[in-house]
Symmetry: C2
Subunit: 343 residues, 2 copies
């Protein structure tokens, strides 16, 4: 059932309109800084249990909407559900992070048994959220970008400098290309599923896009993201795609131009004045408050918000952090941020 | 005793001359990829024991010069000898990395007992190396940049995202400024000592310069590096200073302009064509082969070397890696690299 027609400021900006004040949401807004999230998570047992439980995941997705009235609700899930659906075992070690087994040290997926039905609960989550979402709130889906997802698949866990995947990409570029292609295909199907369940825009998270040398960046970051954009646009036209390539600095203009994303998320290390000058004039930009600035609060927070808003005062802008909100961020600082952004 | 007059290509390039082929050295060239280094290190017991033993440290500094004839010999030492001289205890946990105690969680140095004589063995190392160095080889000293050194001093160890120091800098910027100022002062004295012992150029390593938001970058990276450049230039004029701010991408032009460094090291993620266009025309640039490309070897290595040389074919250029050489790099790949650079 399609959602009620209504003005959705976030969706309007993603389509190229400028709104003042800018719409706002926060990466990881459904998360540990919220007491209601912590309560539900400890009841359900863990992070992955929440992700695969549509009732709980929908509730978690809606919690920050109820509390803060953000302009976007982002699906509560994880980028590693794709490796899981492709056949790797997935679990989280307490205090350490994700584990995938077996690690694909040679990039070879052939021994794994893919099972796309593992993604069904996530589509159910989307349907549940959309049914309860206020009419002006945009529903956002997401996936990891192939390079970032591959770094976990190859190493079997997070790594300091993505060394195992980078080595494999240099040494066995043919095998690595096959792995990337498989992730591209699975990601397109997954995002189509999210869109058919009700998401109105999607974000591609490329957390480790910044670890590659320039030619490798073009091959393993730009090309796969462009492939996803092209295939998604063909299969589900009109759904805006936000690219978020973290840590790529001076390569942002190349990424924006060559991938064809509809909007660009920028991280907190980027000078917004530089970004505004360097990026295409009408490209919607999302970002880029330092999560530590939000955590620290005080006068610095207000000043930082003003500087970001001023830098992007002539283009479509979505206010966001440059990275996920930190678990020990005081809720009162989020309230102060929203008051300042909406002033 | 001053060194014999001779043509030193690396020093000439640092002073603004272009040389073709470019002079070459590699970050961490004195290190674990060399069997002769591993033998001496296991004999001496550990990394710090080597650093503080002038005979051993001089030998380690000279090993790669004998084997490969690099154009620069870089002092074998560690950036954390400054916190050690400022009064923190320093040791290395096997397989984990450096530890400093007590961690300066509030940035306050007052409880520590500084002892600058801890740096004396390092000056002795320089004197020993210089006495044995071939006449055309340039002797390079170095120090950590204040921000990077402070991240270790505050956390008491390496951290994934420099979170403890970044928090302190937001929350207690006055205390953090005092800590940075103390590191600036100690670093200038330390580099003057290295110069007086015989180093002919110095490099400032700012490994974590890329983790800061733009205003914090100006305050904690640019300003302290500029202070070091100004004070060193006043006290020991004519000694070139190489800045190496890792991971700062689009902020490289600002860093180069505002710190006043004589030459700029760039990391492997930077597109050399972009860097050549974005940086001042005659600024000497050092870099920027991906250490993983050197490790992987093969056709890709030759192509990458050619692309870097071509990009910097109109400016003073020192060939180097974009980051330290990896311990499992085959020595034959270093030989191939040198043949290609010198071709």
């Amino acid at each position: 059932m399609p959602r009620q027609a209504a003005d959705r400021p976030l969706l309007a900006v993603l389509r190229g309109e400028r709104r003042d004040p800018p719409p706002v949401w926060l990466m990881r807004q459904a998360g540990r800084y919220l007491p209601e999230y912590r309560a539900l998570r400890s009841e359900k047992g863990g992070f992955l249990e929440l992700c695969y439980d549509p009732v709980a995941a929908a509730e978690v997705t809606l919690q920050p909407i109820r509390r803060f009235g953000f302009d976007g609700a982002i699906l509560f899930s994880d980028i590693l559900v794709i490796p899981h659906a492709l056949g790797q075992k997935l679990w989280f070690e307490t205090g350490e992070g994700p584990r995938l087994a077996p690690p694909l040290i040679d990039g070879d997926l052939d021994g794994l048994k893919a099972d796309r039905s593992k993604l069904d609960p996530i589509y159910q989550t989307v349907r549940r959220v959309v049914a309860d979402l206020p009419p002006h709130t945009t529903m956002l889906g997401f996936a990891g970008s192939p390079w970032t997802v591959a770094t976990y698949m190859v190493a079997g866990q997070g790594t300091k400098d993505q060394n195992p995947a980078r080595r494999l990409a240099y040494r066995e570029s043919f095998a690595f290309q096959r792995l990337i292609d498989a992730i591209v295909a699975a990601t397109v199907t997954y995002l189509v599923g999210q869109i058919d369940a009700g998401v109105e825009a999607v974000q591609l998270f490329d957390s480790w896009a910044g670890s590659l040398a320039p030619d490798e960046f073009l091959r393993w970051v730009v090309a796969p993201n462009r492939a996803i954009v092209e295939q998604l646009r063909e299969r589900r036209p009109g759904v805006p795609i936000i690219g978020f390539p973290k840590g790529i600095g001076e390569k942002l203009p190349v990424y924006a131009r060559e991938t064809g994303v509809d909007a660009l998320g920028i991280d907190e290390t980027i000078d917004p004045v530089w970004a505004n000058e360097a990026l295409p004039a009408n490209l919607p930009v999302q970002g880029n408050l330092d999560p530590l600035c939000l955590l620290a609060g005080g006068e610095g927070l207000g000043n930082a918000v003003s500087r970001i808003r001023a830098a992007f005062s002539k283009r479509p802008h979505i206010f966001n952090l440059g990275h996920g909100i930190l678990p020990d961020t005081p809720i009162v600082h989020v309230e102060q941020l929203l008051a300042k952004v909406r002033a």
